[in-house]
Subunit: 206 residues, 2 copies
Amino acid sequence: VTATNCILQDVQVHLVNREMWHAFSNLGTEMIITRIGRRLFPTLEISLSGLDSDGRYIIKADITAADNHRYKYIPASGWVPVQNGNHAVITSHNSNVSFGTYEHPDSPNTGKFWMKANSISFKKMKLSNDKSCKTKGCIILNSMRKYQPRIHIMRIDAPNLGSRIAVFPETRFFAVTSYQNVQVTKLKIQNNPFAKAFRDSNSQLT
Amino acid sequence: VTATNCILQDVQVHLVNREMWHAFSNLGTEMIITRIGRRLFPTLEISLSGLDSDGRYIIKADITAADNHRYKYIPASGWVPVQNGNHAVITSHNSNVSFGTYEHPDSPNTGKFWMKANSISFKKMKLSNDKSCKTKGCIILNSMRKYQPRIHIMRIDAPNLGSRIAVFPETRFFAVTSYQNVQVTKLKIQNNPFAKAFRDSNSQLT
DNA sequence: ATGTTTCCACCTAGGTGAAAACTT
DNA sequence: AAGTTTTCACCTAGGTGGAAACAT
């Protein structure tokens, strides 16, 4: 095992639906968390290159704290950290601590399999605020905090072949129990097929 | 590795919905095969015991020929082998040759995981008659032939730990492109939730 | 004649945000 | 006041057998 293998140096991770994420990120992305678990929208969708065709890999997503603040949403100002007197409240939320992991259901699989996919979708991944939530693929978060998803590529066809973590800043989001920014709600309705019922016929996208 | 391990001697495989299969088997079970793939009904549903809690296992289903005949359905007689003059036509269909394998989507997993499940369901497994069918989990069969599903339990946490094959004769079925025996159709409609639209309100089950 | 393919109405299953009720 | 939970109409997504068209 060489140092090169240990970090999977040649592996490239691409965020397929980067433009969609970017549109939400500009507004401050919000994701609903519920007792039974709710999907993310947009979905995490990646593609991979630079894997060893014959190697075996597990692909996972996890979610870390983006910072250690608690936030509130003020319509005129947007998302601002909660202040206690003159300084921001620092909580025990540490970045690099994972709040839960979702293994892609096609894992484990060969490098060839992962690379030939146009899109590796984490659409069944769900978010909850209930610690006792047993829904499959559910990650437990706290409301009114900011989170950062990550993608893990782990080679497993021999011990200690290493892994790689990819972080896309445009996928950061606030966990909420109901939407705060009405612009976010509108963008969800316009783009999520399951929210089609709420689309205003005057402002339909082609 | 002992001889005992090699055949996973203590492993018990139980057909959870045996009664449903039996009801169909009495009539001569038929399964529709289509270009895009069609689920089996009843679904293969098993439970397992006698696994090593800490071992890792792959659970698969596959389908073999039940015999080497071609069949036709005669309403007055039922399913009879096609005759050529006075003797049955013998084809190249050999039992013990698998026509396709469907790996349970939770594979691989621990003995503990598999044993704690009340029902390990192969409901996403599909049957097709189109060799070029790329639908995930699709097994290619020939129409008007008799088939025998099998369950495979393979231990994989070390090389050559062996495997076990379980065969339930009540799960034998005829592959068809449209139902032949109207009694089979009726039993499907009464028991498959997706066929509820065709239930006669006079003969509903409670 | 016999078997196959395509299309369809009618279901199951489950993912949306809205709104009202609830909690603290 | 601020945030959470529940319920709901309205969608997407996809599994049924029937019937008509098609193939050989």
